[in-house]
Amino acid sequence: MTPRDQTDAAESVFELESTLESVDLAEQIAVRAAAEAGLDDDQQYEIGMAVRESVINAVVHGNRYNRNKKVRLTVRMRPGELVVRVADEGEGFDPSQVPDPLASENLLSQSGRGLLLIRAFTDEFTVRRLVPQGTEVVLVKRVREPSPPRSEEAEREG
């Protein structure tokens, strides 16, 4: 249950059990790292949600709650951005085969919105198949740029 923390200056790796408790734990780890990386409250919430949904996918759809399979969460802080990797040991999946949750015929589906939320709440999102098995998703969240300066017209209007 206790995550294995292999911390160096910029990267932490946590090996999580394939349980629902890991979902909450991963979210908390991501939010804490986002705060340390200088992301604002909204961005902390957003990357927390994206990591949460990724770990749900890893535990539920990837590892299928198999206690012998682990979820590896890697959090890496780089200047101006946070990079989070979530890897499972499942059979793998093709995101292009996931039904579009925004299609009218799927709007009332009970599930299938996780990837949509992940994409909405990250700056970059990639999926790759691992060898010999498993799926790894990579989530990137960048520190938000300061608000743009006022336009020339607004400046003139003072």
Partner: protein, 116 residues
């Protein structure tokens, strides 16, 4: 972290006040069971007050949709009241804002159940 629910009647409308998060696991189960009990008790007009709900994940969204379709299939209605900014954003991202009727005023929301 946990979810608390309490129900009060305003006329025929069951107003459910929720506090906390609706997320995968215990919270989503608690929400689902509460809706099941209300429907079993014959409630057909449900207004979910989400003012104190700080967080919805995809599982929580699924439970809202499931509650909505359950009520509809029973000839009832489920509407939402007092969405916070983040909950509103989530409903927009998922286009569920086109499914749910959302109100900011409780009296107006209650009246809407009686007008067609």
């Amino acid at each position: 972290m946990s979810l608390e629910l309490s129900c009060r009647k305003v006329g025929d409308v069951a107003v459910v006040d929720l506090t906390g998060r609706i997320t995968l696991g215990e919270e989503a189960s608690k929400f689902r069971e509460a809706i099941r009990v209300l429907v079993a008790q014959g409630e057909r007009k449900l207004l979910l007050n989400l003012a104190q709900v700080s967080y919805l994940d995809s599982s929580g969204l699924g439970e809202l949709v499931s509650a909505y379709t359950t009520l509809r299939s029973q000839g009832g209605e489920l509407k939402l009241l007092h969405l916070g900014r983040r909950i509103r954003d989530i409903l927009q991202i998922t286009k569920l804002c086109t499914v749910f009727e959302v109100y900011e005023d409780e009296a107006e929301a209650v009246r809407s159940f009686y007008t067609r």
